[in-house]
């Protein structure tokens, strides 16, 4: 009899665990453990076949920073993120404005906009690689018929063959798959702006641009910030576009840090882990910025 209340108290204390426990375990196994394992591996000497050959101190990091391509890879990663996100945001701002208007067939066109968002990035990249094929690619055929290249199959017909032409195409594909989400996020933001605000601007005689610049844009800022940051995260971590279209080649000239990390995994797992930790550090900085900017604690859904 005396034990019952105590038992009950323990049961009540453990109750949350029964409900959220499975989620915690899954996060621990799939997210937390790999992070620990990755950091641990970055200080180990590991053979190509995964056998640990003892500690390597900071040797993996030293080897990574000494790689001739390391600097170029890091600079390219930054250019990649900045270029893709900036273009995505600019294009999406325009598209959100357009798709916010009423016109016949708006529903259908909005559905069309979904396609690159829903489809696997791998499939989209495969199609772009095919359309850029030096022999049968549709984009090259159009370029030939416009007189921009002489013949199919020539060196100038292989846009993915050289870094100077491949990089813009990779960025274009990344923008292509990022624009739908961003546009939708901005459309959701536009929907929260009350009509009276525009009415007031109209009464004040504000021009269309003036209204956009001083009314719409400031009110759109929360949605814009979140969409941009989510894009930064996605683009930084994006791997399939470059992997499918160029494998980071020729040389490492189109490789970003995630591609470099993956290629290193084939030769030196420890060094690859070191690259991952560097990547991960940058992700943490981005997450911290995200939490700070969005003021997470006060805005968490209740």
């Amino acid at each position: 009899m005396q034990q019952m209340p105590a038992l009950k108290r323990v049961a009540r204390k453990l109750e949350p665990l029964a409900w959220i426990g499975p989620a915690m375990v899954l996060i621990a196994v799939v997210v937390v453990w790999p992070v620990i394992e990755m950091i641990r591996s970055s200080f180990l000497k590991i053979s190509r076949f995964g056998v640990v050959q003892g500690s390597n101190g900071t040797g993996n990091y030293a080897k990574l920073f000494d790689e001739a391509d390391f600097g170029g890879v890091m600079i390219r990663s930054v250019i990649w993120v900045v270029a893709v996100v900036a273009l995505t945001v600019l294009i999406s701002l325009g598209l959100a404005q357009l798709f916010n208007q009423r016109f016949p067939g708006r529903r259908v066109t909005r559905w069309a906009l979904i396609a690159p968002w829903a489809a696997s990035v791998v499939m989209t990249s495969i199609m772009f690689k095919w359309m850029l094929d030096p022999e049968v690619g549709l984009i090259n055929m159009i370029r030939r018929d416009l007189g921009l290249i002489d013949a199919l199959g020539g060196a100038d017909a292989d846009p993915l063959g050289a870094a100077s032409t491949a990089m813009p195409w990779l960025i274009a594909v990344a923008v292509f798959v990022s624009v739908p989400f961003t546009t939708y996020a901005l459309l959701a933001g536009l929907a929260t702006i009350p009509a009276e605000v525009y009415e007031a601007a109209r009464v004040d005689g504000a021009s269309r641009w003036r209204t956009y610049w001083s009314v719409t844009l400031p009110l759109l800022r929360p949605a814009l910030t979140v969409a941009a940051l989510i894009n930064v995260m996605n683009v930084f971590n994006n791997f399939p576009i470059i992997w499918v279209m160029t494998h980071g080649q020729p040389g490492y000239s189109t490789a970003t840090s995630t591609i470099f990390m993956f290629i290193l995994k084939g030769s030196d797992i420890g060094e690859s882990a070191a690259m991952s930790v560097v990547n991960f550090g940058m992700v943490i900085v981005l997450v911290a910025i995200f939490l700070k900017v969005t003021n997470w604690k006060t805005e968490v859904p209740r």
Binding site: V29, M38, V122, W130, P301
Partner: protein
């Protein structure tokens, strides 16, 4: 009187503007579905014309789709299906109780839990690929469909928790209390009242997880080694690198891997943005 005159004097700009807006939107819509239209046209090309520079094939054939099922890629499609279905079931089993409890009860560690979920959403498997590989190698689970289900489940948990959390929180507590007074037990209320009301959220979480796992590439590329155990995304990509490519099967596989998820996604489109930006804007 003046209100009658006004429209007549102006050259009626509204319809013209509307036409321009619609035309612009249609052009953009076509640009965004263009690669997928190309995919379908390529799959319907006759085999002889696959390596010819043609804008349109001379005729269309269904054979790529009928032959697909007897080819090797059909096995990869089955793997994709297993991973997507398995991850979806796992996510729902784990996210439903967690989202319900954290929406209804204030317990110690609630904020910690929600914070952890948000962090999980921010991190992507690409950033910790080496760790994931090392961990599952230690478990002896490389090349197993279960490891793909676990990883996809874990990284898609956050979205499901946010969506379900929002739905549960929006259901008035009084509704549950009234049902409880009618004599239903705690779980009776949950299954007969709460869950049916949260159904749109459950469906959204279900479809979103399914699509994300269906499309996943990087983890599968890292954790599978034999071609038969690879999902379609990985199999199709390695297919291109081969010396003799059966382009028809490749495009048929791409269509099968792409078009169904685009249609599924259209069903939940309205709710996805709120799930992805949850935790930051309401």
């Amino acid at each position: 009187m003046t209100s009658h005159k006004a429209p007549r004097r102006m050259p009626n700009p509204a319809p013209l503007k509307k036409v321009l807006i619609a035309a612009g939107a249609y052009v953009i819509a076509i640009i965004f579905i263009f690669p997928y239209l190309q995919m379908i046209i390529a799959a319907l090309r006759p085999r002889e014309e696959q390596r010819e520079a043609l804008y349109l094939p001379s005729s269309f054939h269904w054979s790529a789709f009928t032959e697909f099922w007897s080819g090797g890629l059909a096995g990869n499609l089955l793997v994709t299906l297993e991973v997507a279905a398995g991850s979806t079931i796992l996510v729902l089993l784990v996210a439903l109780p967690a989202a319900y409890y954290s929406a209804r009860h204030n317990f110690r560690g609630r904020m910690v839990f929600l914070f952890l979920v948000l962090i999980t959403q921010m991190f992507q498997p690409t950033a910790m690929l080496v760790g994931i590989y090392r961990e599952f190698a230690q478990f002896g689970m490389v090349d197993s469909v279960w490891s793909l289900i676990l990883v996809n489940g874990g990284f898609n948990l956050a979205f499901a928790v946010w969506i379900l959390h929002a739905y549960f929180a929006s259901i008035p507590r009084e509704l549950e209390e009234a049902a409880a007074m009618d004599g239903s037990g705690r779980f009776g209320v949950l299954f007969r009242v709460t869950l049916p009301l949260a159904m749109p959220g459950v469906v959204t979480a279900l479809i979103f997880t399914f699509i994300a796992a269906w499309n996943e590439f990087v983890v599968a590329l890292t954790l599978t080694t034999t071609p038969e155990n690879q999902p379609l995304t990985v199999a199709l990509n390695s297919y291109i690198g081969q010396y003799q490519v059966d382009w028809q099967s490749l495009f048929a596989g791409s269509v099968i891997a792409t078009i169904p998820v685009i249609i599924l996604f259209a069903l939940i489109e309205r709710k996805v943005v709120s799930g992805l930006t949850a935790g930051s804007i309401k």
